[in-house]
Symmetry: C2
Subunit: 232 residues, 2 copies
């Protein structure tokens, strides 16, 4: 937020100015998702973003120092929106195994339902998309809980995290780019992960495929404006 | 191979010309690994490659049409070299579980022993680095064998492949960029994968940590010229 610190002008004018500023910033972020999904994290230049958003070059610099600053803002904004919708539902489960499966499945369903977001994630790669971010921290929280209680068995939370995030990101890319993956691709990977951390095959499958909570209509600012994949 | 088809000049001159051509191509490929590892797959321009290799711009175009053609050549050349060294050893194992563990561990050890190669792999991402390439095909071969014989249990070879390649690529990046991963990171992930496909915990651990075959000194053209990581 770049709210002015000195109160200037009429309160109404000030509020209108802040709202316009937020709208322009959201427009830059929304149109940048498609640019990064098409061109990758490193190739786009400022001309690509201002063409996509239909704004002047000077406008870009009013909001972001560089394409990489915009990349960071896009990643942050959309991950915040997804996790803000997903985590409250995840926290209703006490079992850490159920938590990470439900959270991961909801996250993947966003990536597949909004293919420009899924393509963005796999194209910019996990180093930008997820390391050290909220999904990573929430997952480590649930895995640490599971290891401490003995519910999950593994050498460390980091090893399990790498297996989950690695499988999931690779699996999203498979579903978006290759034929042959079935509609329960993420559920089948999660069932194997659960068996890998010591659950019996039957229980692993039951948890990996349990009904997902209904997270309701998407009202978060950027996602509400993205196109969804056609229903199958 | 771009061997001239019309025999021109003296046989000795012709041989010298072919050798020089191969040397220059190898020089461009070798120096491009570092450029892509630093700048990613999409950002580098021809100036970056000719500066790194110390050749003229026209020389670049004698060998490659574009930076992306060079990226494809780098990926192809190094994956061929690694798999050419690894696969003959893998084929000595009859058990598909042992095969994919040994093959994967040897591949990861190359990525960590030659960090510029490991960084290249994680920076350019799996879509360029591995999908549809030899590692992918060999792994699918071993997984299909394992599923057909009942040694491995899973919904499909594709699901297991995504779990292995996803975990391994994510894990290589963790080892190169984050603290906290232990020296047996890949072995611990593979033990979980083996449990995930139905092996008992003890057997999974034994196979994931079995002694690796000695693949001998690295004599393949590009790898022999790369710097290795300092020994711990």
């Amino acid at each position: 937020m770049n709210t002015p610190t000195a109160a200037t002008g009429h309160p109404h004018q000030k509020r209108v100015g802040i709202e316009r500023r937020e709208r322009t910033r959201a427009l830059l972020i929304r149109s940048a998702i498609d640019v990064f999904a098409r061109l990758g994290p490193d190739a786009p230049v400022i001309d690509d973003f201002i063409a996509a958003a239909g704004v002047a070059r000077g406008t870009f610099y009013n909001y972001f120092r560089s394409p990489h600053a915009l990349l960071a803002a896009v990643t942050e904004a959309l991950n915040e929106e997804v996790l803000g919708m997903v985590d409250p539902h995840v926290l209703r489960y006490d079992d850490p195994a159920q938590r990470f499966c439900v959270g991961t499945r909801l996250y993947v369903h966003f990536a597949l339902r909004y293919p420009v977001w899924g393509t963005f994630l796999t194209r910019i790669g996990p180093a930008h998309a997820v390391r050290g971010r909220r999904l990573d921290r929430y997952l480590m929280r649930d895995l640490a809980l599971g290891l401490a209680s003995g519910r999950l068995r593994a050498a460390s939370a980091l090893v399990v995290r790498d297996m989950i995030l690695g499988s999931v990101f690779f699996g999203i890319e498979t579903q978006l780019t290759e034929g042959g993956a079935g509609p329960r691709h993420v559920e089948e990977m999660l069932a194997m992960v659960l068996q890998g951390v010591g659950l019996a095959a039957d229980e692993a499958r039951a948890i990996a495929t349990m009904p997902l909570p209904d997270i309701g209509p998407v009202s978060s600012p950027v996602f509400a404006t993205l196109h969804t994949a056609p229903d199958n």
